[in-house]
Amino acid sequence: MKVNKKPAVSVGGASSEQPVLVVDKISKVYQTNSGSLIAVDGMSFSVNPQEVVSVIGPSGCGKSTLFNLIGGLTPPSSGKISVSGMPVNGPHPSISMVFQEESIFPWRNVVNNVAFPLEINGVPKAEREEHARRFIQMVGLEGFENHTPSQLSGGMRQRVAIARGLASEPKLLLMDEPFAALDEQTRLLLGDKVIQMQQELKQTILLITHNITEAIQLSDRIVVMSYRPGRLKRIIDIDLPRPRTSEIVSSEEFGRYVAMIWDDLREEASKGMAAADSARATT
């Protein structure tokens, strides 16, 4: 499928292409005051080693719900999730979560934020700080190790969150719209950083986003979600050459992918808007 990726070497020695993540007919129903709400409905897909997969869908389609399901923070109503063959019944050490909201600890400086996962595993101070520095450098924050979060910009804070996610060396890095709050230029440049990091670590990533450009820029495959219920609409392979940079967004091929995904999303997004409008009209 992907010619430019995956040389003969593969992670963990075992050359069997066991997927890192398998999502099998997963559903989530929320009980609300106005009845039950099907947030995610029977979604199935998998993520292979070293692959970057994006899940894209309009606002409110159930992306964060899916994120919490995979991360083991919310139990599914039905269906199964497994990581490297092991079932996910709760938070799993093989998965690191980077949240949509700002999630770094304001009372810790950059190094201590990034070293957090090592600290809770009892790694000695000097060792964990050295380890943390490596990931801080990888997200381009060297020199800011001793800064507190309040001294950083929004984009830098999200990079700290990513570095903290990477520091536990997860099999799967799970990110929920990590750049949603940032401006487009910053977002593109951070995309480049993520690509570099991914190449260096051969990191398997599942990225949740509502941004088409970001999804195409970063992904090998894109899972498109429908709005209410949140179902899998289509999976699109992105056959753009790697290594990529943000310059790729101006290429013709890129434009074709944008058109293709927008075609799928437009329908769903307008459903979402209509639902939001009618909700506003009734209140």
Partner: protein, 254 residues
């Protein structure tokens, strides 16, 4: 750094300005007394008050009274730290606990506890313990309320980060809930200590026992007006230093 600390950042000219205004205020009173607009037997001349300072320090040994007041405030602080904060933490654990107890804690905040001092005299006798307990009770509510507020307002996403790393309940509390709530807890403690300090001096005055409040009362009974006012100024000065110290401590700790 942050917007909040910028508000507290004092400009260089603030302290000279404060001193200048205070001096002007005293000068006006001095002139008013000189011109007999004010009665010297109600309000002393600031110049006499100024010279009375020497007397209250050397002859009345106000510093040892200060030490007594300080010990009592310290006693109340220990109560606030080791009883009120844990109590707040306990209440914050379960919604029902706060629903059951919250109104009582708030009611305590509104109650004029100082007026109940005869009751405490009966229970604890005419001892520093009475003063400490009353001061502790007046500081209790703000500390508990702010502690509960701090803990229940910890952002969900921070708790989720802890859960995603599979923290134990103890780790979750120590590494996430407590540090996230700490600024609010310190704010409560600072408010509580200010109340406690005021109460200590007031009760000392009321029951003629112990430190600064007591000496102010004694000097007033002797009708030594300049010394009385000097002692009151001294109390104000000590309070200001105490609050400034707390502010520093809070900044340093968070």
């Amino acid at each position: 750094m942050t917007a909040k600390s910028a508000i507290f950042q004092k400009e260089k000219w603030v302290i000279p300005l404060q001193l200048g205004v205070t001096f002007l205020f005293f000068a006006i009173i001095e002139i008013a007394i000189e011109l007999k607009w004010l009665n010297e037997y109600v309000l002393s001349r600031p110049s006499k008050i100024f010279f009375a300072f020497h007397r209250i320090i050397v002859e009345e040994s106000i510093l040892s009274y200060t030490a007594v007041t300080f010990m009592e405030v310290l006693g109340a602080s220990l109560g606030l730290i080791f009883i009120a904060i844990p109590f707040g933490i306990l209440l914050a654990q379960k919604k029902v606990l706060w629903q059951a107890w919250g109104d009582w804690v708030s009611a305590l905040a509104a109650a004029p506890i100082v007026l109940l001092y005869p009751l405490f005299l009966v229970v604890f006798g005419r001892s520093p313990m009475t003063i400490i307990v009353i001061a502790f009770l007046t500081g209790f509510s703000p500390v508990v309320i702010k502690t509960v507020e701090g803990i229940t307002n910890v952002r969900q996403v921070l708790k989720d980060v802890g859960r995603s790393f599979n923290l134990s309940a103890y780790q979750q509390f120590k590494l996430i809930t407590l540090p996230a709530a700490l600024p609010a807890i310190f704010l409560g403690l600072r408010l509580g200590l200010i109340y406690a300090m005021i109460t200590v001096v007031a009760v000392e005055y009321l029951i003629d026992l112990g430190g600064l409040g007591n000496i102010v009362g004694e000097l007033a009974e002797r009708y030594d007006l300049p010394a009385t006012y000097a002692a009151m100024c001294f109390v104000v000065g000590v309070s200001i230093l105490f609050f400034a110290f707390l502010e520093r401590l809070e900044k340093w700790l968070t």
